[in-house]
């Protein structure tokens, strides 16, 4: 899942407009960012589900540190503390929750490959509800998430544009910038990128 995490970031942006969208997107993907680093270091890995070619949903991920429950909580707290310094406690809490949302969404779709403790210490049961076992259903759920995110982002962006126009019209004869056009452009690009990311993931282009 890649697009679904971004879809959630877009949805949260509509409710928490004070947070830059890049920060929300980065936080929703932070576990995967660390996964890529550990993958390049040879510490974490992934492999196709036996009997498949490893396409959409057919991957078992050995992310025993970044995607363990405790590891995800630790990264969430780290992100929360780092965001609190410049942006305050509330924004820090939101961004920390965004980091952990990755683990929650992954828990729903992953095959049972997510440990509780880092390094799968104690050989506790691996977690994952396995929605990826039904690829079309997983795709549908992700599609709904990104469409909802794009829709909510569009409404928030247009509302912001209208507010900005009104503010400018109080101070002068015309708005200082084409706010609605900018909002519409950002919303369209958001929707296109979300759908393209989902399709790329589904058809294995992003493998």
């Amino acid at each position: 899942m890649l697009a679904g995490h971004f879809g959630l970031a877009a949805a949260v942006k509509s409710r928490e407009p004070q947070l830059p969208v890049w920060s929300l997107m980065l936080c929703t993907q932070l576990l995967d960012v660390f996964f890529v680093v550990l993958y390049l270091m040879g510490i974490e890995s992934f492999e196709p589900v036996p009997g498949t070619n490893g396409g959409y949903g057919n991957t078992i991920i050995h992310a025993n540190y970044t995607h363990s429950l405790v590891g995800a909580l630790a990264l969430s707290v780290l992100a929360m503390l780092m965001a609190m310094i410049p942006w305050g406690r509330r924004n820090g809490l939101i961004l920390g929750a965004m980091v952990f949302s990755h683990w929650i969404l992954d828990l729903i779709v992953h095959h049972p490959d997510m440990p509780i403790l880092p390094g799968n210490a104690g050989n506790l049961p691996l977690l994952g509800f396995g929605l990826w076992s039904i690829p079309w259903f997983s795709f549908l759920a992700e599609l709904i998430l990104i469409l909802a995110g794009a829709y909510l982002y569009y409404h928030a962006a247009m509302r912001t544009a209208v507010r900005a126009e009104r503010q400018d019209l109080k101070e002068g004869p015309t708005p200082k910038a084409p706010y609605r056009q900018q909002s519409l452009t950002a919303s369209i690009v958001m929707a296109v990128l979300l759908v393209a990311t989902l399709l790329g993931d589904f058809f294995g282009v992003l493998a």
């Binding site: 971004f6 409404h155 209208v162 900018q182 992003l206």
Partner: protein
């Protein structure tokens, strides 16, 4: 590799487009209440 590039591109492009809009800043005091009139106006226009 394509996965990483796609992820970075998405964040950079959307971050740039989003930054051009006049959102409140992270340290701003924001009112989360949106009146019905304002909501309908923004939708209509």
């Amino acid at each position: 590799m394509i996965f990483i590039i796609a992820m970075i591109l998405f964040v950079v492009v959307m971050g740039w487009l989003d930054a051009r809009l006049r959102w409140p800043k992270p340290k701003d005091k924001t009112s989360r209440y949106v009146s019905v009139a304002e909501r309908s106006t923004s939708l209509r226009r």
